[in-house]
């Protein structure tokens, strides 16, 4: 008999536990966000993301490009999602005109990574990134500095509302990406004497640019 059959057989033979469990009537989200206007959600997103240690900018596309040039600080390679996946047309051309090589760059040495986001969550200041064609997992993971480009309309109240939207869209929506990550601030660790240190393995800086 296979391990599978043995395990399932044992579980089925056992007296079923928790037959008296009462279903929750009034499911609640972890962080109540009901009734918040879009403007409230935007300001909540900004304050939560900043509290996590992100730098948040509300900028025009041109200002965003200027900010990115500042952060580039003379580097000649940038890791980036494909241009079609970013809400900032013209960025790649601008960088390449300066002799910067823009691409997936999964080498582990490139300092700057530029991504878009699938959605952002106000309650927790989080960014959701989904892997896919032109949306590389390593861009938000290997570089020291992660720049996330987004629009204010991408902000949802919380994790529950994001998942609700997926449920409305049906099963394939949940699993359309092989790897979905909800990012909440820079990588960190407190393993050494409980002292908080940023940049354990992932980015030590996260810059969120909300394009107006």
């Amino acid at each position: 008999m296979s391990a599978r059959e043995q395990i399932l057989g044992k579980l089925r033979q056992a007296r079923q536990p928790f037959t008296d469990v009462q279903p929750i009537q009034d499911r609640q989200p972890m962080i109540p966000m009901a009734g918040l206007s879009a403007a409230d959600q935007l300001s909540r997103f900004i304050s939560e993301a900043e509290a996590l240690g992100c730098c948040v900018y509300q900028v025009s596309p041109n200002e965003a490009i200027e900010q990115i040039m500042d952060l580039l600080d003379g580097d000649k390679t940038v890791s980036s999602w494909d241009e079609a996946e970013l809400p900032l047309p013209g960025l790649r051309g601008m960088l390449e005109s300066l002799g910067v090589s823009v691409g997936a760059h999964q080498d582990g040495d490139t300092r700057l990574g530029i991504t878009g986001v699938t959605a952002a969550l106000a309650a927790t200041g989080s960014l959701i990134v989904e892997s896919g064609a032109g949306r590389y997992r390593s861009t938000s993971l290997l570089p020291d500095v992660h720049i996330a480009l987004m629009r204010a309309e991408q902000i949802l109240p919380d994790l529950e509302s994001w998942e609700e939207a997926q449920r409305r869209a049906g099963y394939p929506a949940f699993t359309r990406s092989s790897n979905t990550t909800v990012i909440s601030g820079p990588s960190k660790t407190a393993d050494i004497a409980h002292q908080l240190v940023k940049g354990a393995h992932g980015p030590r800086e996260v810059h969120v640019m909300i394009l107006g």
Binding site: E163, S178, V182
Partner: protein, 477 residues
């Protein structure tokens, strides 16, 4: 490869910990900090809301356990739909063998591992190393533990028992780091060392905090990002998942993946909340080409059939460890196996056999904090008492101890008798002074037993309520 069980040496191991001031300081500081952060986050909205989230999480896990065999089959179908290959393992030997078979099939030489308590149960590292593979733990705490050739002492903070200087010495001796007392420099050093391992590893091994049945997804939580590296960069990804990690729906997952870090480190979400749906897709040029899930039993289906099934609801947040006065004083190693603290005192006898862990059901003052902080409301004190009763039935316990515990159990279940117990304790302390008999004697050898309050809380509360009622009457008048 079996993992050593030293739980019957509890008293001696506890004695060592209680003579180690550095350890006591480090564990005390770490557990207390986490304890207060949890309070801030879980009850940020209100105490009622925090409590209802706890009940929502408790219900999700119990419902999943109730329907476990059906959900396992559902999860298997949906995992396969996502492209995962699903394997089942009855015990540690089978699980490790499956891992080795996968490694051989894909010509794997080096493995990066993200934190998995299940792999500690299975002795996975030793099994892979014995077969000639290079295995690197990549969670910073686990990395230090692996270099120091120790075992984790806390579910979430594996190296909680070590001071900064001790960690520095590990890096200096094992890896030739330039000596520094700066935690940031140590982290940067480890980041550089591990970066090379991440990029060249052939296989990544992860655990799974949750397995979502309806979508066939693995939910992972982490702060450092090492788990993302292990599940994204190597050619092969294997997730070791205990069969009790099932949740039914995405809604259940949303509750649990937030309640877990809130209870654990006081974070609303961990830095990375990762949902993994199989290997890379055809249009991706990144991510593992092969993704496996090994569903591991290793004693869980035995526990499922007993009055201890509730222990399978545990989501490994470590809140009970942070809250436990016994754990706080000595850390996790004294418990002698993989899990320390109240959940360890329950799980260890269930996994390794009560006869191999007879002191553990007594390693608790039954203060009830563990149940109170548990995000899924596991009744740990009840199970500790039941385990003590099992010890008595098995003739493993002394008569005096047996009596004391029965009295205690009786006292706890009735308000009148609870009051009487308090009176007896106060009187008893007059007679005994600060030294406590029996197992508590080992405890009070190193510390004073706190005085019982001169007036019990129940009396103070009654008096206060009485005066409140009076005040309100006066207000109305």
């Amino acid at each position: 490869m079996t993992v050593t069980v030293e739980s019957n040496n509890f008293i001696a191991l506890a004695d060592v910990a209680l003579h180690n001031e550095d350890l006591q300081h480090a564990v005390g500081e770490g557990t207390r900090a986490a304890y207060y952060k949890r309070l801030d986050t879980m009850f940020a909205t209100s105490s009622e809301h925090g409590e209802s989230m706890r009940q929502q999480a408790a219900e999700a896990k119990r419902r999943a356990l109730r329907d476990l065999p059906d959900l396992l089959e559902k999860a298997e179908r949906n995992l396969e739909k996502n492209g995962f290959q699903v394997e089942w393992a009855l015990d540690a030997a089978e699980a490790n063998q499956l891992l080795l078979d996968i490694a051989r099939r894909h010509g794997v030489e080096s493995v990066t591992k993200s934190k998995s308590m299940l792999s500690e149960e299975l002795g996975t590292n030793h099994a892979l190393e014995a077969a000639g593979l290079r295995v690197v733990e990549t969670d910073l705490g686990e990395y230090i533990i692996q270099l120091a050739n120790e075992t984790p002492s806390h579910i979430v903070g594996p190296v909680m028992h070590k001071t900064k200087a001790e960690i520095r010495d590990v890096f200096v001796h094992e890896l030739g780091m330039e000596p520094t007392d700066d935690a940031e420099e140590m982290v940067a050093f480890a980041r550089r060392m591990l970066r090379e391992d991440f990029l060249k590893a052939d296989m990544g091994v992860s655990g799974g905090n949750f397995l979502i049945a309806e979508t066939g997804s693995i939910g992972l939580v982490m702060n450092e990002g090492n788990g993302r590296m292990c599940t994204s960069l190597p050619r092969v990804h294997v997730a070791l998942v205990g069969i009790e990690k099932l949740v039914d729906t995405v809604e259940d997952y949303a509750t649990l993946t937030q309640v877990l870090p809130s209870s654990s480190t006081g974070q609303k979400l961990t830095v990375y909340t990762n949902i993994i749906n199989g290997p890379r897709r055809d249009d991706e040029d990144e991510g593992p080409e092969h993704a496996y899930v090994i569903l591991v039993d290793n004693g869980r289906s035995d526990i499922y059939a007993t009055k201890y099934a509730e222990a399978l609801a545990c989501i490994r947040c470590g809140a009970c460890q942070n809250a436990c006065p016994v754990y706080r004083a000595m850390g996790g190693h004294a418990y002698g196996w993989v899990y320390g603290g109240p959940i360890g005192a329950v799980l260890t006898p269930l996994f390794v056999g009560l006869e191999n862990a007879t002191p553990l059901p007594h390693a608790s003052s039954l203060c009830g904090s563990c149940k109170q902080v548990c995000p899924v409301d596991i009744d740990l004190p009840r199970m500790l008492l039941d385990l003590r009763w099992d010890l008595v039935q098995a003739g493993e316990s002394k008569v005096g101890w047996d009596m004391a515990m029965k009295m205690w159990a009786i006292g706890m279940t009735s308000p009148t008798r609870f009051n009487l117990g308090g009176v007896a304790a106060r009187t008893g302390q007059h007679i005994m002074g600060e030294y406590m008999p029996g197992v508590l004697g080992n405890w009070t050898k190193h510390r004073d037993f706190p005085d019982f309050a001169p007036k019990p809380f129940r009396q103070l509360w009654a008096a206060r309520r009485h005066s409140r009622v009076k005040e309100r009457k006066n207000e109305r008048a």
